[in-house]
Amino acid sequence: MRGSIPSNLLLFFSIILGIFHCDLSHAGTQYKRTIENYSMPDVVLVNQNGAKVRFKELMQSNKPIIVDFIFGTCTTICPVLSAGFVNLQNKIGSDSKKVHLVSISIDPENDTPMVMNEYLKRYKAKPGWDFLTGSRKDIDTVMKAFNAYIPNKMSHYPLTLMRPSGDNKWIRIFGLMSSLEFISEYQKMANK
């Protein structure tokens, strides 16, 4: 039996290594896209200016909407998602308000209006991009409505949710898109 241990371990490590190599060569260029039906909850959140926002009404806007879940002190994936938002706003040009970008805090206790305002400033966000916080209970409700609930912010994952104008279907994108992929997804949605 002793002799078999190294070969078993070797097999195990080979599998793990395979996964590791796979990640380095392909990560970042793959994402999962599905079409979903979501029912928006009637909760009141607070935006980066301290103003109360009825979430359900906001989600009924005639404009296309893009939602993501981030937090102010996040490392790695939130900055990348936010860079995608910045780039889209730049691409759209002067009328940045024609698409509504909505970032929802998953660290609502720390993300006060002031923290969120500073975050948006850091990314040079233009009008049309709002960052929302609220009570933990209401934020949990919103996460659950998008099938995106996580009990702890540190176990989050990259998610972008897009709803075309005048539609009630959501495009759910799991994973990180490149900016070209993001623009392409936006254009597909906008031309719908």
Binding site: I16, D23, A51, T73, T76, N152
Partner: protein, 581 residues
């Protein structure tokens, strides 16, 4: 759940490949970090410029670094500085399924090995994951993502357009980053200290120290048992199972530094203690009279201080080394201001009068209140200072109300609150609302005059939930604080300081257990805090939930506004959410 169970759960909660990412690259770090090669001594000015590039994304010229992310997104380097992913200690991170490798010099300039903890690789030595970088290949990979072994970095890593001179400054800094263990770390020991000021009762001191000392005794007896010939197998098993094998041979020590006399002598006393007993970090600690000199000592010497028990923390968005349980009294002032703004449709149009006792508590409460109004662009508050011993008479209150035409009075006082509320309840033009602090009131909270309870709003910085006390070696189930009323007022945590002290120290043992393991032998102080910032929220009997996050330095963020019901058996009723926005 045990710590191992907790870690295992975390791994399971991520995807299989994320698990592999965590397992493989990070595990080799400890051995690499133990290297003690002599390092060049670049000028401190050059290191400062490099630090500015690494932490803030600012070039030596003062301009932001130009960066591109996800292949083609141009972003300012200020939003994508190195530190935001590789973290301050440069040991990298795993978050949201994205693994960020280390960028400290010791890691970059040697081959990146694949090493499995506790397993001797005599049968099947693995090739290096990558060769060592040199200055040229490192510059290339930072600019273009092209690695010396012919592949391209994941495009989550931005590409930075740096001139040669700027690149040299950054690389010099990376070489210095987490390059040597700080004082307090040896091959056999990690030294800690707890700071206590002489105004703290013996019972409270003992309550604060007991869980820490018990934890250290358990840990050290494990290390002792591994040393015996019988314990060798147990040690090997522990090394195989534990994330950090370095802990199986390192003992922990805890010194107690007692500060005496005036606060302006504390810094000198601390420097002397530190000279005699160099410690890696400060655990807990307790003071009744302010933490500023200790906070400053930590900043000056770059010594982490974890959850010191003080109601008077230093409030700062940028200081790095002290992680407080909460903002203390300041947080209550903050909550009162936020509640006022939220209930008055965003603006406090009538004048607000703040009556503040000349005390350390009064100063902290009023600072939190005033600062929050300023941040939210509200009109300034009228502040009336009360000297020590000065009475709040009915005439005094009527005069203020008449003069300022106010509907809201903030009473940051402990000694004369009950009389003041009694007076206010019997005058004709009484204010619509009066705010007081539960922590400052202490036992008097239960004795508010019956007639004043309807208009008295109380800042209450504690949880209503009866959370289970976490044990030293497990348990991290978060309690949702959903009860609307608190019936048993004897539960007020402020009434039982020794118990609060003990509970906070229990939480510290939880945090330290996870932190020391997750550091995986990289005993650098910034890494200690970086790792702490990644720890999931923890339950707290006092605050329900303590939450962390990169750079976050106040673990409990909330404070209720409550009211006391009328009658002889009153209950506290929540009037606000835990965090008021």
């Amino acid at each position: 759940m045990t710590v191992m169970g907790h870690i295992f759960y975390n791994w399971l909660s991520k995807s299989a490949f994320a698990t592999a990412l965590i397992l493989l690259p990070l595990m080799h770090i400890s051995d690499a970090s133990a290297g003690n090669e002599p390092l060049l001594s670049p000028s401190s000015e050059s290191l400062q410029l490099g630090e500015q590039m690494y932490r803030n994304g600012i070039l030596p010229s003062g301009e932001p670094i130009q960066a591109f992310v996800k292949g083609d997104l141009p972003v300012p380097g200020t939003a994508f500085s190195c530190v935001s992913c590789h973290l301050r200690g440069g040991l990298g991170s795993v978050e949201g399924g994205v693994f960020t490798p280390p960028t400290s010099g010791l890691q970059l300039f040697q081959p990146f090995k694949i090493l499995f903890k506790g397993l001797t690789q005599t049968f099947f030595p693995f090739p290096d994951r990558r060769p060592a970088y040199n200055d040229t290949t490192l510059a290339e990979v930072i600019r273009s993502g092209a690695t010396p072994w012919g592949s391209t970095l994941n495009d989550v890593m931005p590409r930075y357009l740096l001139e040669d001179n700027d690149m040299a400054v950054l690389i010099t800094y990376l070489k210095s980053l987490s390059a040597r263990f700080p004082p307090g770390i040896s091959d056999t020991t990690i030294h800690f200290a707890s700071i206590i000021t002489e105004d703290v009762s013996k019972e409270e001191r003992d309550s604060m120290l007991a869980p820490l000392q018990r934890y250290i005794n358990i840990k050290n007896s494990q290390v002792n048992s591994y040393k015996s010939s019988l314990g060798k197998k147990s040690r090997q098993m522990a090394e195989n199972m534990m994330v950090s094998k370095e802990l199986s041979t390192r003992k922990l020590t805890l010194s107690v530094w007692l500060l005496k006399g005036a606060q302006n002598t504390w810094h000198t006393q601390l420097e002397e203690y530190y000279r005699q007993e160099p410690v890696f970090a400060l655990l807990g600690g307790i003071s009744r009279s302010g933490w500023r000199p200790i906070h400053q000592f930590s900043e000056d010497n770059k010594i982490p201080c974890i959850l010191p028990q003080t109601d008077f923390p230093v409030i700062s968005d940028t200081d790095w080394y002290t992680l407080y349980p909460s903002k203390g009294y300041y947080q209550e002032g903050q909550a009162a201001a936020r509640y006022l703004i939220s209930t008055q449709e965003g603006k406090t149009d009538k004048k607000v009068v703040q009556i503040v006792r000349n005390s350390i508590e009064g100063a902290a409460l009023s600072a939190g209140f005033e600062q929050t109004l300023r941040e939210r662009n509200q009109p300034p508050v009228v502040t009336v200072q009360l000297q020590v011993g000065e009475k709040i008479t009915s005439g005094f209150l009527q005069q203020i109300i008449k003069k300022e035409n106010t509907e809201t009075i903030i009473l940051w006082d402990d000694t004369d609150v009950l009389t003041a509320l009694e007076s206010l309840s019997s005058i004709t033009n009484k204010p619509k609302s009066v705010f007081v602090s539960a922590r400052y009131l202490g036992d008097k909270l239960h004795k508010l005059p019956d007639n004043a309870r309807e208009f008295t709003y109380i800042t209450y910085p504690y949880s209503f939930a009866k959370a289970a006390v976490p044990s030293a070696m497990g348990g991290s189930i978060l309690i949702e604080d959903e009860s609307k009323t608190l019936v048993n007022l004897a539960q007020l945590p402020g009434h039982k300081p020794p118990e609060t002290a003990r509970q906070t120290s229990e939480t510290i043992t939880q945090l330290i257990t996870m932190d020391l393991m997750e550091m995986r032998g990289n005993y650098y102080r910034d890494n200690f805090l970086d790792v702490l910032g990644m720890i999931p929220d923890q339950p707290s009997p006092t605050y329900a939930r303590l939450s962390f996050g990169p750079g976050q330095r106040y673990a409990s963020k909330g404070c209720y506004i409550v009211q006391l019901t009328r009658g002889e058996s009153p209950v506290l009723v929540k009037k606000s959410a835990w965090v008021i926005h």
